[in-house]
């Protein structure tokens, strides 16, 4: 339905690689609060092109006076570009350029702490050119991690440093952004001053592409009414039945509700209002959907066990569901710690401190363990279902025709779901691998690629799981036709019965099973 747009969709995100201008703060010791250093234009700062410039020595410019400053986005084709609200979110990482200097060496292996005094300003195109307003400011610490080939350690050689997280904004509401960074030299903390020699830095800003946002919005806007209507139809069918609802139906209903919540195109408000929280809400919605999908598979397998055990209530699955809940809670807390805190301080990063890193790793490992536990549970349950299926198929010919239809219906339904689920999961994994590989191998001269794998992956996976739930809701809805006597069914209606038959009131199932053992 969105195929045309999908194939012309750009990559999900773009980058602006920019090198900051080395502005000089001549008033330095006298603090001037919230002064913006602008790298270009009519109000541009005084700057040096190179930190090793002779004027730095002659004018006695100190490290505290250097303000790394960049105005995003950059000009192109003699035109100052503007950011757009369609970009949704933006994050910036820093690549530090540390130069080898035998007189002032970088402390190899010590991962020195670096202090950053950061200011982020914004301005709209129609504002006065000097009217930069502060969006956020903070003094943060980052740990440098640089390496060099020992054989090539000559003065002037660059170290290879890990990227440092800098800031993340949940909304791109303004036209221009201005980054100002100072690396203050501390008189007290001497460890902080041992950074080696820094020759500059590079900002890498990543933002979602407007074209991708448009495709994504249209996907959501189309899927939301579709899934909502099939959900309402499904629930009305269930309510028409004379019996109370069973667990599987309630689970399917919950899955539909959560999918509808995820599909709700809340993002449209970001075009009108500054809503950085949408990014966090999207994370939570997506997480909730996958948690529900995982729980659904557990319950579906459990309800098709076809043994004499009475289930049909949530409490009999608590052990299995615990794995899902623990894993998702760990990821939720981790996400709240990172993106939640970033709502108030965009420079915050859980990875910046050692305790934060350990905590983050602990949460991720916990989630990993929970995921392993979940897959063990699920595989074991599916194994048991298949074992029961094979014993049932063996005894099918001896059963009466009602029970034979009932069981073959159950078996068919289970196998059908297994097959579609496996197909969807396999496609997700294959798409993921293709998109990762194609992204990593991207090189110059690859302009000819017309299909963007990453955006096709994201949109494809999103659409596929939507269609999956859509199919479940419509195929597993109970028939409104009365079940009638099985014997009177003609061949043409057989398949429909098999698909729409309910896993039945478990008491009836239990009685049948006992009957079959008697047989």
């Amino acid at each position: 339905m969105c195929n045309g747009a999908l194939f012309s969709a750009p990559a999900p995100s773009s980058t602006i690689v920019s090198i900051p201008i080395n502005c000089i703060d001549y008033d330095h010791p006298v603090p001037k609060d919230k002064k913006a250093f602008i790298p270009r234009g009519n109000h541009s700062c005084a700057y040096v092109e190179n930190l090793f410039d002779k004027s730095v020595e002659t004018e006695k410019i100190e490290a505290n006076q250097i303000v790394f400053s960049q105005w995003l986005p950059l000009p192109r084709d003699n035109h100052q570009l503007r950011m757009s609200r369609w970009f949704q979110s933006m994050l910036t990482v820093i690549q530090m350029d540390v130069v080898h200097n035998s007189k002032n060496p970088y402390p190899l292996g010590k991962n020195p702490k670096m202090q950053l005094e950061c200011h982020l300003f914004y301005r709209n195109a129609e504002d006065d050119e000097n009217d930069w307003k502060e969006l956020a400011s903070a003094v943060v610490e980052r740990r440098l991690d640089c390496r060099i080939d020992e054989n090539q350690k000559q003065d002037g050689d660059l170290y290879e440093c890990d990227l440092l997280p800098f800031f993340e904004l949940g909304s791109v509401h303004y036209d221009y952004y201005l980054i100002n960074i100072r690396l203050p030299v501390s008189k007290r903390d001497d460890e902080m001053n041992k950074l080696g020699t820094v020759s500059g830095m590079t900002f890498i800003t990543i933002f979602q592409n407007g074209g991708f946002t448009k495709v994504w919005f249209s996907l959501k806007t189309v899927f939301f009414p579709l899934t909502l209507s099939v959900l309402i139809w499904f629930w009305r069918r269930i309510l028409q039945l004379s019996r109370p609802t069973n667990l599987l139906e309630r689970t399917l209903f919950a899955l539909g509700i959560i999918l509808s919540i995820m599909n709700f195109p809340l993002e449209w408000i970001t075009l009108l209002a500054n809503a950085p929280f949408v990014l966090l809400i999207n994370d939570i919605r997506e997480g909730a959907f996958y948690a529900m999908l995982l729980s659904f598979w557990l319950i579906f397998a459990g309800e098709h066990m076809m043994d004499s055990q009475e289930r049909n209530k949530l409490s009999s699955y608590w052990k299995h569901l615990l794995a899902v809940i623990v894993g998702c809670l760990a990821l939720l807390i981790f996400d709240m710690c990172e993106r939640g805190v970033q709502l108030t301080n965009p420079f915050y990063s859980i990875w910046a401190t050692t305790t934060g890193t350990n905590l983050a790793l602990a949460f991720i490992i916990l989630a990993g363990i929970a995921a392993c536990g979940y897959f063990l549970f699920l595989s074991y349950m599916i194994f048991r279902v298949f074992r029961n299926i094979s014993t049932k198929t063996a005894s099918l010919p001896q059963m009466s025709s009602v029970r034979r239809k009932f069981y073959s219906g159950l078996i068919f339904r289970f196998k059908f779901l297994m097959l579609t689920t496996l197909l969807c999961a396999a496609l997700t994994v294959i798409f993921f691998i293709i998109s990762q590989v194609s992204e990593g191998q991207w090189k110059w001269g690859d302009d000819g690629i017309s299909l963007e794998y990453s955006s096709a992956f994201l949109a494809g996976v999103y659409g596929m799981w939507n269609m999956y739930v859509f199919a479940l809701l419509s195929l597993y809805a109970p028939s409104h036709k009365t079940m009638g006597v099985a014997e009177s069914l003609d061949e043409t209606r057989e398949e429909e019965v098999q698909l729409t038959q309910i896993p039945s009131e478990s008491s009836a199932l239990a009685s049948m099973i006992t009957k079959s053992t008697v047989d």
């Binding site: 750009p10 930190l51 000009p75 192109r76 690396l183 001053n193 110059w444």
Partner: protein, 281 residues
Amino acid sequence: MIQSRSFVRYFLWCPTIKAQELRFKGWELAEGREAAFTHAVSAAGVVYAISRSCREGELQSCGCSRARRPKDLNRDWIWGGCGDNIEYGYRFAKAFVDVREKEKNHPRHSRSLARMLMNLHNNEAGRIAVYNYAKVACKCHGVSGSCSLKTCWQQLPTFREVGDRLKDRYDGATETKFNNRGTKLKRKNRRFNKPNKEDLIYLDDSPDYCTANPETGSLGTVGRECNRSSQGMDGCTLMCCGRGYNTFKRKLVERCHCKFYWCCYVRCKTCERVLDVQTCK
């Protein structure tokens, strides 16, 4: 450019050429390996410098590589971003550096045509040394920092890497001559590999850089400082071309006991020390 100068400084053949002169002096040199290297380094320097200025936002004219027409610029940028400007640097350098070579038409088999072909080839090799060796760096930024979303960008190689690569090409440069029609250059000796786009080519063997020769632009090595302990190009044995060297003592006033920070002005004391210096005879 500054880096290319520091790189070139170690070479025997053009010790005193300053960065600005490097490009223009290049034509004065004979059509040897050194001229080939000079052209390649300066062309690489232009790509490098332009790409860097684009990233600084200093150069307003840098293109948006995805935009087809300037009038659609803003729409294209919002739709799919702009991409990086190493490509622009490459195209700019191609137009800017090669224009002088293409000014005139040269007759077949002429020396000037050979020189033009050689320069064009080496310029391209220099540009490619930057352009083709840009590395791809990536960042994962999906839900909870996972790699469900990954974005990559181009990283310029350091100029030293470019210089090292060109130095290797300089060592393995191919001597060439006209083909039978006198329109193209081909390798002189069939035993060597055919030069590809990345290789440097030259026409003549290197002139004697040991003695001054105003015709070739060589300044000679008499009076140049050399390193007694080095076995390389800067060592006294090679640089002085077997003429031997003089040693004398030089008093050096140095800055010492400095308090270093990550950058900028350094507070130091001054110390004096005596140093042995060697110069070629």
